[in-house]
């Protein structure tokens, strides 16, 4: 390597030195519109103003106060994002539903990962099912699959986002490489807001974070050509959300 460790460590010292030097002059607080922000801002570390976590939540889009509201909001938001939403009573019904979808759309091969939520679906899907975990990962085999079936960590009513992690949802590629992403959400996984989902991340993974956590908000999209919306840019063209419970 052309850059020796000593160069980067002296670069680090230079940059951190410049930062410390620069910050000796305090900057004025930003112009704020609301007294609420100013009043709730408290002295943080070094006496600098910070806003406590829960202060901003009532200003952001609503996430619903009851489980019913959250379910309705999630379904509505997913619909606006052009995701396909199904609601079934239990895992057996989810498996039957997916087998029907696979048959109707002529899927020849689906990918899945070992998880209590996905296993019955993979078993009943009625076409070849490629499991991505357990053995050596094969990206070519995954690319050849019509759909990837995953569990999720949470679903966010506020934004219609599905949170997946590399640890519990079959790694990084399963939810992004196949043309269709099928995700199983049990109703008790629905949270109100992004903040709630991130709190969950904090409590569930403290100290042992999965290498990837991704909020998926609808099927892959682009507006790069004349700002016209097209679904399925590089990731899944379709996002099928199966709500179980």
């Amino acid at each position: 390597m052309s850059v020796s460790t000593s160069t980067t460590s002296s670069a680090r010292d230079t940059i951190l030195g410049r930062i410390r030097e620069a910050l000796r002059m305090p900057a004025p607080l930003p112009h704020m519109k609301s007294h609420a922000a100013e009043e709730s801002a408290t002295g943080g570390p070094k006496g600098l103003t910070i806003l406590p976590a829960d202060v901003a939540r009532p200003w952001l889009p609503d996430g619903g106060d009851t489980p019913e509201e959250r379910l309705a909001l999630l379904t509505e938001n997913l619909g606006k994002l052009r995701a396909e939403v199904h609601r079934v009573a239990d895992t057996a019904a989810a498996a039957a539903l997916l087998a029907g979808i696979a048959h109707d759309r002529g899927w020849r091969k689906v990918a899945w990962h070992g998880h209590p939520a996905t296993e019955p679906l993979a078993a009943a899907v009625g076409c070849e099912a490629h499991r991505v975990d357990g053995t050596a990962f094969d990206k070519n085999a995954l690319e050849a699959c019509d759909a990837g079936i995953t569990a999720c960590d949470a679903a966010v009513a506020q934004t219609g986002s599905i949170l997946v992690s590399s640890g519990h949802c079959g790694g990084r590629a399963l939810s992004i490489l196949p043309h269709v992403h099928v995700v199983i959400v049990s109703l008790d996984q629905i949270v109100a807001t992004l903040g709630d989902a991130l709190d969950l991340v904090r409590s569930r993974y403290a100290g042992r974070l999965p290498s990837m956590l991704s909020f998926i908000t609808g099927p892959s999209r682009t507006g790069d050509i004349e700002r016209i919306l097209v679904l399925g840019a590089h990731g899944p063209k379709e996002l099928i959300v199966i709500l179980v419970g």
Partner: protein
């Protein structure tokens, strides 16, 4: 070079070779562009949908203005605690298994990345959209060293094939018509002509899939660095960054040092606001947090993850408390979308990595005020940018600050003389009255005589009627 990958050199051909020519180039290109009414109408039309969807999404906030307060405070407290949060982030990122590299300059950053590519014996590199890499001219350096690199973001891919830098740092090819893209793909990828944006997108999709799988190294940017957890947050719509960070065996991320935020709570505010302000979305399609390379027990992911932290004059902005808030920028592009100057002169006229109002504020810091102060004048000072900014950067006032600073360091003799004359006249009432009278009479005379010099101008216009008496004497007569 990967077969079928673009050979175009994305070296910034639109940047003035000689920085002293930057102003000349700006004035020349602006004049050209303003005359191109077709192009201006096309850009305005492309932005039309943005305004509508942005307003729809803003209305979903229970209080957008207070949310802006929260977002600006989150960035303010992070930037003003950078001395503490940056080391905290680095320690946590390395605890997650990543490796951090520090670069004082663009050149150091390029050397570090080329060194990593050599060590990895990289053959094919796939890249997702990263403005910091444009800032350090990474692609040109990689190609000079013999590495094939493909931009995977659709807009960036189109720009790479065209041999142009991005036109807009969020919508890179918003100035290109679908027919041009169809021709471009026909020429480089051998595809049949089509006028469907959907089909054009699918052409890029099919072309790119193999490249993700074959690439050894994936390069991405970073939108936020979370100090609390050591995670890197990447925001995108297409899924190309997800694929870039999933399939190659090495992941290199490039970030400015100012992207640090304190914790996950701040992300809960900033992620939706970035999407709403930038593209009129409730959330961008993929918001992904990376904590190092593949972990034990995970089935895929890169073996190594590197982060290149770049200063490149950011500490100089940090040292200016007045304009420190320009480091709060989350690169949403909202200020470009609302700027009357951007819409009329177009993205390339700026000749900068970061276009539009925020680019006009920071470029003089990144590249020198003497050669780039003309950007401070590329504003009507209407304040639309400041109003649109989700983190409340005082953009249009900073343009004034830059003008003031430039006047201090390199005063313009003619401007100074003009102001001195004005002060002389305005502070002597008799001289002021005499000047007014002279002007009234000149105006009356011009209207009467229609001198040849003004005849063309007067053919379609009229001079205002010369008032009979000065304002001051009219006022005296009234009271």
């Amino acid at each position: 070079m990967t077969p079928g990958s673009p050979t175009a050199d994305p070296h910034p051909i639109h940047e003035a070779e000689d920085p002293h020519l930057a102003k000349k180039k700006f004035l020349h290109d602006a004049a050209e562009h303003v005359r191109d009414t077709g192009h201006r109408a096309f850009v305005r039309k492309a932005l039309g949908g943005y305004y509508a969807s942005r307003d729809t999404q803003k209305a979903r906030y229970r209080d957008w203005e207070q949310a802006r307060d929260a977002a600006s405070l989150a960035k303010w407290s992070a930037v003003n605690r950078l001395d503490e949060l940056l080391p905290q982030f680095v320690a946590n990122f390395e605890a997650n298994g990543g490796k951090v590299h520090w670069a004082r300059t663009a050149e150091e950053a390029r050397d570090i990345i080329l060194g990593l590519l050599r060590a990895a014996k990289a053959k094919a590199v796939i890249k997702s959209k990263c403005m910091t890499s444009e800032e350090i001219h990474l692609n040109a350096a990689m190609e000079a060293d013999g590495y094939g690199v493909v931009e995977s973001d659709l807009g960036e891919f189109i720009q790479q094939l065209r041999g142009e830098p991005p036109y807009h740092f969020v919508f890179p090819c918003m100035h290109v018509r679908r027919e041009e893209i169809s021709d471009l793909f026909g020429k480089h990828l051998g595809t049949a002509p089509t006028d469907s944006p959907e089909e054009l997108t699918m052409i890029a999709r099919r072309h790119m899939r193999r490249l993700y799988i074959d690439a050894d190294v994936g390069i991405t940017g970073a939108n936020f660095l979370v100090a609390e957890t050591g995670q890197i947050s990447i925001t995108e719509n297409e899924g190309n960054a997800r694929l870039t960070a999933a399939l190659p065996r090495m992941h290199i991320s490039i970030s400015g040092i100012e992207k640090v935020v304190a914790n996950l709570d701040d992300l809960a505010v900033l992620l939706p606001m970035l999407a709403t302000a930038g593209a009129g979305q409730p959330m961008t399609c993929y918001n992904t947090l990376y904590a190092g390379p593949r972990k034990p027990g995970e089935c895929d992911g890169p073996e190594e993850m590197h982060l290149v932290l770049i200063d490149n004059q950011r500490t100089a902005i940090l040292a200016d408390p007045e304009q420190r808030d320009s480091l709060h920028c989350i690169r949403c592009g909202a200020c470009l979308n609302v700027c009357p100057i951007f819409k009329n002169v177009g993205g390339f006229t700026y000749g900068t990595t970061y276009q539009g109002p925020i680019g006009s504020v920071i470029t003089p810091h990144l590249r020198g005020l003497a050669d780039w102060n003309h950007l401070s004048g590329a504003s009507s000072l209407c304040g639309a940018c400041t109003d649109a900014c989700p983190v409340r950067i005082d953009i249009h006032h900073h343009l004034l600050h830059n003008r003031r600073n430039a006047a201090k360091t390199a005063p313009n003799r003619w401007e100074k003389l003009g102001h001195r004359l004005f002060v002389m006249v305005a502070s002597r009432p008799w001289l002021f009255a005499a000047g007014g009278a002279a002007f009234r009479h000149t105006l009356w005379l011009m209207k009467k005589l229609r001198p040849p010099l003004l005849r063309d101008w007067l053919a379609t216009r009229d001079l205002p009627a010369a008032p009979r008496a000065s304002f001051r004497s009219q006022w005296r007569a009234r009271s």
